[in-house]
Amino acid sequence: MSRAAPAIAVRDLRKNFGGFQAVRGISFDVAPGEIVGFLGPNGAGKTTTIKMITGLLAITSGSVEVNGLDNRRELPRVKRMLGYMSQKFSLYPLLTALENIEFFGGISGLAPHDLKAAMARMQEAVPAPVLRQKIQDVPPGIRQKVALFVCLLPDPGIILLDEPTSGVDPEARRGFWNEIYGLKTRGKTLLVSTHNLDEAEYCDRILIIHNGEIVSAGAPDDLLRREGKASIEELFEDAIRSHGQN
């Protein structure tokens, strides 16, 4: 059986900020319909890598292909395939949740009836009075829900989530991962960065990144078995320690 072409193919990707190497020649694939967890401590290079995939950061060297398209040569087409949720959720704090959705739907070029339908769907998931509050006044869990909803408005096939669960309570995190599973069942491809190691269990595969390099990659169970570790925490600490010694 032939393997499907990767949804995301990253090859020898590097990013320098002046003399500092934030990403040091990493390569990985994300297969269509897969949930890949991008694990690493703060400053490891997760956000930089995701931003290079979206085209928000210039690539120093190496390449990124999205569904076979080079993201530097075909950026407008690549952008249409990607959904991106940033670390800070990046919603407009003085607008209500519904106004945020209306705005992002508008700039995505969503047809009015599609936008109306999307807003109705949001109202099913979150109580209407909450949706009419300014985003700055709603709990982080709701903000996260709205940010994910906004990211999905143009119906992208590939979704990049940068630390989507930071700052939200454990219950909201569980709910959020349920939604991510829902997306996977709808055929979406997901690359999710996190520094919460317990979230690795939700992923089909994980990439552990440290100091701009991928130090371990594979399905969580395979990695545990292969490395003889009892938990992801242990695996993670060991991978980082041994990388630090090299």
Binding site: K51, T54, G55, L56, L57, A58, R72, L75, P76, K79, R80, L82, Y84, S86, Q87, K88, F89, S90, L91, Y92, P93, F104, I107, S108, G109, V150
Partner: protein, 374 residues
């Protein structure tokens, strides 16, 4: 003592490690001292004036020569060929600062040993310049009088000056300052609005979402500036109404003419704000930069406080690149002199050039920044 020392050391480290603020703290006063202390004075190098000589006699020609020889007055018309209404039109358009009118019978009266009057019409819309023009004129007349009395051996002043201050007869300084302030405030508000709005979006991360959306850079700029054009126009209208009804500043010209130029001026200010936002990493820096870049030159180099004719040639050249230089003339002209569209071809063209240049630079820099990120 040790605890206070810790705070002092920490504060110094903060000051030293914030080079942008440090630059502003040291560069701004130096620039101000340079402009104020070295290059700006209240002395005029040039006063554009017309002389209408209805007398056409020996003494009237001598007086005209004295005025021309003064070195400050640049005469645009001599003799009686320039009609007064044409000269007044030039005064309204800002092409002249003063009109000297020598009445018929001037020579005859002086020859008969009687006193004669010379009419002096001054543009009062710039009170500082008007006062200087009056002082210079009085000095010329004093010398001329001294010559006359010495030649005739007579006492008393054979020649008197009848001065009329047009557009601001009471020489109220509010007439001069408030329209100028409106110009400065509108530029400052426009630049501040966009620079803060964009840098706020950059800090919150929402600009990144706009960048990866299908929006083109031009669309983002248009979308972000249109609301602020309306806000800045409303702001200008509120200040103008306040000036009209609280300070009694007249509105003698057409509001539509003012609106048309204000639109260009605001777009120039908003574009400047976008340019600032592309260089400023934080909202705080953007705000400081917008205030400095708009207020300092507009106050000192646009003719708001110091007449342009008093600036050194270098600073005068700089003043041509400041949008407030042109809008100031327009707002003073429309509000105080009732000047019309036809009086502002040069100012309008320069505002258009500056507006187009700043907008093109802002769009290019913003687009480049987006591209650089890609």
């Amino acid at each position: 003592m040790g605890r206070i020392k810790a705070i002092i050391v920490k504060e110094f480290l903060h000051i030293l490690r914030d080079p942008r603020s440090l630059t502003m703290v040291f560069i701004t006063p130096l620039v101000m001292i340079f402009i104020l202390g070295y290059s700006v004075s209240y002395d005029l190098d040039r006063v554009d004036a017309a002389v209408i000589d209805h007398s056409q006699g020996r003494l009237s020609r001598q007086l005209v020569q004295s005025i021309a020889a003064n070195g400050v007055f640049v005469l645009h018309g001599r003799g009686a060929s320039l009609p007064l209404d044409r000269a007044e039109e030039m005064l309204r358009a800002g092409a002249l600062r003063a009109i000297v009118v020598i009445p018929p019978g001037f020579d005859r009266r002086l020859a008969a040993g009687a006193a004669a009057e010379v009419g002096l019409v001054i543009d009062g819309s710039d009170v500082n310049v008007a006062n200087l023009v009056q002082q210079y004129s009085e000095r010329i007349l004093l010398e001329f009088n001294a010559g006359l009395t010495a030649a005739r051996g007579a006492t008393g002043l054979p020649l008197r000056l009848d001065t009329k201050m047009y557009f601001n007869p009471e020489a109220r300084s509010q007439f001069f300052f408030i329209p100028g302030l409106i110009a400065v405030i509108m530029l400052m508000i426009s630049a501040l609005l966009t620079s803060l709005s964009i840098s706020r979006e950059r800090e919150s991360g929402s600009l990144a979402l706009l960048f990866i959306s299908p929006l083109r850079s031009g669309e983002i700029i248009v979308g972000k500036t249109v609301p602020y054009i309306i806000v800045a126009l409303l702001d200008g209208a509120v200040i103008l109404l306040f000036a009209r009804f609280w300070f009694g500043i007249p509105l003698r010209g057409s509001l539509l003419v003012l609106l048309a130029f204000a639109l260009l001026y605001i777009v120039a200010g908003l574009s400047l704000g976008i340019l600032i936002s592309t260089a400023a990493p934080t909202q705080r820096t953007a705000m400081l930069a917008a205030l400095l870049i708009t207020m300092l030159p507009s106050f000192l180099l646009s003719g708001f406080i110091f007449p342009l004719d008093s600036l050194s040639p270098v600073l005068r050249a700089v003043s041509y690149a400041i949008p407030a230089t042109y809008f100031l003339r327009i707002i003073r002209g429309v509000v105080l002199k009732g000047a019309a569209l036809r009086h502002f071809w040069f100012e309008g063209a320069m505002l258009l050039v500056l507006c187009a240049g700043l907008l093109a630079a802002a769009t290019r820099k913003f687009g480049r920044q987006r591209k650089a990120a890609q």
